[in-house]
């Protein structure tokens, strides 16, 4: 149980902190829909 807790905490700290206002880029494809999606 100690290992699990430690891993959980470590995993929490490993996450790269995102800068404030970080906006993920839209996926490059597919592009925008110009009319409507069939």
């Amino acid at each position: 149980s100690v290992a699990k807790r430690a891993v959980a905490e470590a995993a929490q700290h490993d996450k790269v902190p995102r800068p404030v206002g970080f906006v993920p880029l839209p996926p490059p494809c597919p592009g925008k829909i110009h009319h409507f999606d069939i």
Partner: protein, 259 residues
């Protein structure tokens, strides 16, 4: 250290949109039947460097049918895309282009067009009439009657059928058949055609005059037929596109491949 490979192009990047525009113009310019298609979405793009300023571009495009017949001189920008409720027809195209020193050219294209599924239309619009098969006898009979009616009343050239573009049959609240078809002017006046219609042939390419007709026939409760035909006037054909010259060609129901 070798230069890092260029970042992959996004589907909405200006270079991708420019390539898609060249591809769509090529597809419409090399299509001989049906309607002009407009870009709806760039599904994917892949760029393969071939050398300095030389790239092969693979495009996957999602197109939608417009209301302009392929023979219409109307610029694509002015062609309205058919709405979903009109029973839209979609084109899926794979296009291979080359970009050398910034100049784009199409090397190959393959398209498959198909009408939207009836279930999708009826889910959204239960009363919307659906596309009918262009070989449907009711459609063929109606188009023939409509063109005869037009030719019997016109003071201009006798028109021959080139192809049926699309047709719909509605049974409620009244039984109606609606069709759109492409026509070509012949070397006869409508009067001369009454004497011997067999002599009436489409005008030669250097004088060709194509047009487009819409017709609606109400069959019940009482029969009524409305026809409207507009001729485009002589268009100087683009050198690489053989113009339609076989009267009576009927356009395969949407769901055809073109390469």
């Amino acid at each position: 250290v070798p230069a890092a490979p260029p970042a992959p192009l996004g589907c909405d990047d200006p270079e991708s949109v420019a390539a898609a525009e060249v591809a769509v113009n090529y597809i419409n310019g090399h299509s001989h039947h049906g309607y002009k298609f407009a870009l709806n979405r760039i599904e994917d793009i892949r760029v393969v460097p071939q050398g300095p300023k030389n790239y092969i571009i693979f495009l996957e495009l999602d197109l939608l049918e417009t209301q302009c017949h392929i023979l219409s001189p109307t610029p694509l920008l002015n062609c309205t895309v058919r709405s979903f409720a009109e029973h839209a027809v979609e084109g899926d195209c794979d296009v291979k282009l080359q970009k050398v020193d910034g100049t784009l050219s199409v090397l190959a294209s393959k398209c498959h067009s198909h009408a939207d599924s009836s279930e999708d239309i009826l889910k959204v619009c239960p009363d919307c009439p659906l596309l009918a098969s262009l070989n449907n006898t009711e459609v063929l009979g109606m188009v023939s009657a409509a063109l005869n009616d037009y030719n019997s009343k016109t003071t201009g050239s006798y028109l021959r059928l080139l192809e049926i573009g699309r047709a719909k049959i509605q049974y409620h609240p009244v039984h109606t058949v609606v069709a759109e078809f492409a026509v070509g002017a012949t070397n006869c006046s409508a009067e001369q055609a009454k004497a011997n219609v067999g002599d009436c042939q489409l005008l030669p390419e250097d004088q060709s005059n194509f047009g487009f007709c819409t017709a609606e026939m109400v069959k019940r409760p009482s029969q009524d037929l409305q026809v409207d035909c507009q001729l485009y006037g002589h268009q100087v054909p683009a050198p690489h596109i053989p113009l339609l010259s076989r009267p009576g060609v009927t356009y395969a129901h949407p769901g055809q491949d073109t390469s």
